[in-house]
Subunit: 286 residues, 2 copies
């Protein structure tokens, strides 16, 4: 297993972790901190322009490890479906323009129902997701992109992402892209730490060359006060991150480890304190 | 599949659903409503005495479908372990005194760590749970009890229950009680609805005679505002309950269907309104 205690060259910062800074500040301060990878979000990149951000990153010696994000394939009607498809194809173009090979794909939850907040058919939603990803494959292949599909914790199944285990995403990968040319998976400790079959699923992912495309770190707090914005900083919660990283590296992954923390509490702190803490905790708890 | 629209004889009321009433009120009003099964909690039964409650139930024509609950096997030290063991053995005796054959067993989350809210070792916690259940088996067998183990949603893995899929509980059942003499499983739609492998797991449970000992109904709200006390009334959320009940009945289960709703919102309503709504929704959405 790589030794991160003295070498943070694998640290990737997901820019949502420090939303109190704009992208320019994040880029400058990551460079100063010796960070080599960042994963920016579409809204941040689009407001500056892909060419500008690409130049910033290049000048700062930063590699765009992933672009966030495409997906949300579970539509209630054709108009919404067409709009989402347009967005997804634009996201692929932007990733390519940015020089970022990995585009993160989030499935989406249950579609809106006419008489209820959501439809009661998760199988249908999952089928839609498969067709949505399939639809993106030729373009992604042409652009040389990897679509990085991320299973989300089962507590998000209804409203955010109906792909909820690594096994389930790997089944989809095997169906749509058995040779792992275009589709990869992101393994985020927050979403998978609880899974009793995690190790065998990671081994399964690793058995296909190039399937594991991302590894995300953060922590699960006890108690968790909010399902969306109460993720913990590494070391503050109960996830044995080195154990899972060891499994992921034993399965062949040697890429960036991305710090992605959605947290109201950390968003109230000063940006530099958050960045310093990410680096310190990365050395000690990842 | 049984037709519940005109026949509520399978309805079991978990008494936590109407905590605004004491047990005597619940018993009387369930009997008036034509309900045949209730599942009471230890605190309610102990404060009245098992003999008294047994008489109440008998006079009201109510069958105690389950007794809640034993378990919480994940201890940080020997003293806590000994206390919990005493409680679990007392719970078995009480269930037998009450004439209730099914004792619900909740695993417990991660044990308290010295320097953290919880230890970071879910495998160790799961091992402790297995040993804790094993320890109860001879006594349960002597008393003619079934220990009904319930997997809880993965969002409870850290703080309530480290058994999080039906498959995982079935693995434990196969290890400790392959003939299904003493251990059964409870399938609660709230905890399992998201699982992409749910149907095959239910079929697996049904392949062992007597393994499925309980089926619980309620609903998953969108949004869910609280991880513990924001469960929905059947019909208010996104779970396709009849689909899952059909799978469970196709797997051979024909027992009570228990309404178990932990909800701050429903606890603010008048008890009779809650009971009436349970019965109405049971007919229409279960």
């Amino acid at each position: 297993m790589r030794d991160f205690s003295r070498d943070i060259s694998a640290l990737a910062l997901n820019t949502a972790t420090i939303r109190q800074w704009d992208l320019r500040h994040i880029v400058d301060n990551c460079a100063k901190a010796g960070i080599k990878h960042i994963s920016p979000w579409r809204d941040q990149v689009r407001s500056e322009g892909t060419a500008t951000v690409r130049r910033w990153l290049s000048e700062a010696g930063l590699h765009p490890s992933a672009y966030l994000r495409a997906g949300l394939f579970t539509y209630a009607d054709r108009e919404a479906a067409a709009n989402a498809r347009d967005e997804n194809f634009a996201a692929m173009d932007e990733a390519a323009e940015l020089g970022c090979r990995n585009l993160v794909v989030l499935a989406g939850g249950l579609p809106k129902a006419a008489d209820l907040p959501k439809e009661r058919n998760i199988e249908a939603a999952r089928y839609q997701v498969g067709r949505g990803i399939e639809d993106m494959l030729p373009r992604a292949r042409d652009l040389g992109l990897k679509l990085v599909v991320e299973p989300l914790h089962p507590m998000y199944a209804a409203d955010r992402c109906c792909l909820n285990t690594l096994d389930q995403v790997l089944d989809l990968c095997d169906e749509l892209d058995p040779a792992s040319e275009v589709i990869g998976v992101a393994i985020d400790v927050y979403h998978v730490w609880w899974d009793p079959r995690l190790r065998e699923q990671i081994d399964r992912a690793g058995s296909v060359n190039g399937r594991i495309q991302a590894f995300h770190v953060n922590d699960w707090l006890v108690p968790t006060r909010d399902m969306l914005n109460d993720r913990g900083m590494m070391g503050d919660g109960i996830i044995d991150i080195p154990k899972i990283r060891n499994w992921v590296e034993s399965a062949g992954y040697g890429g960036p480890c991305e710090v992605e923390i959605f947290s109201d509490a950390w968003r109230e702190r000063e940006g530099q304190e958050v960045l310093n803490t990410c680096v310190d905790r990365f050395r000690r708890f990842v």
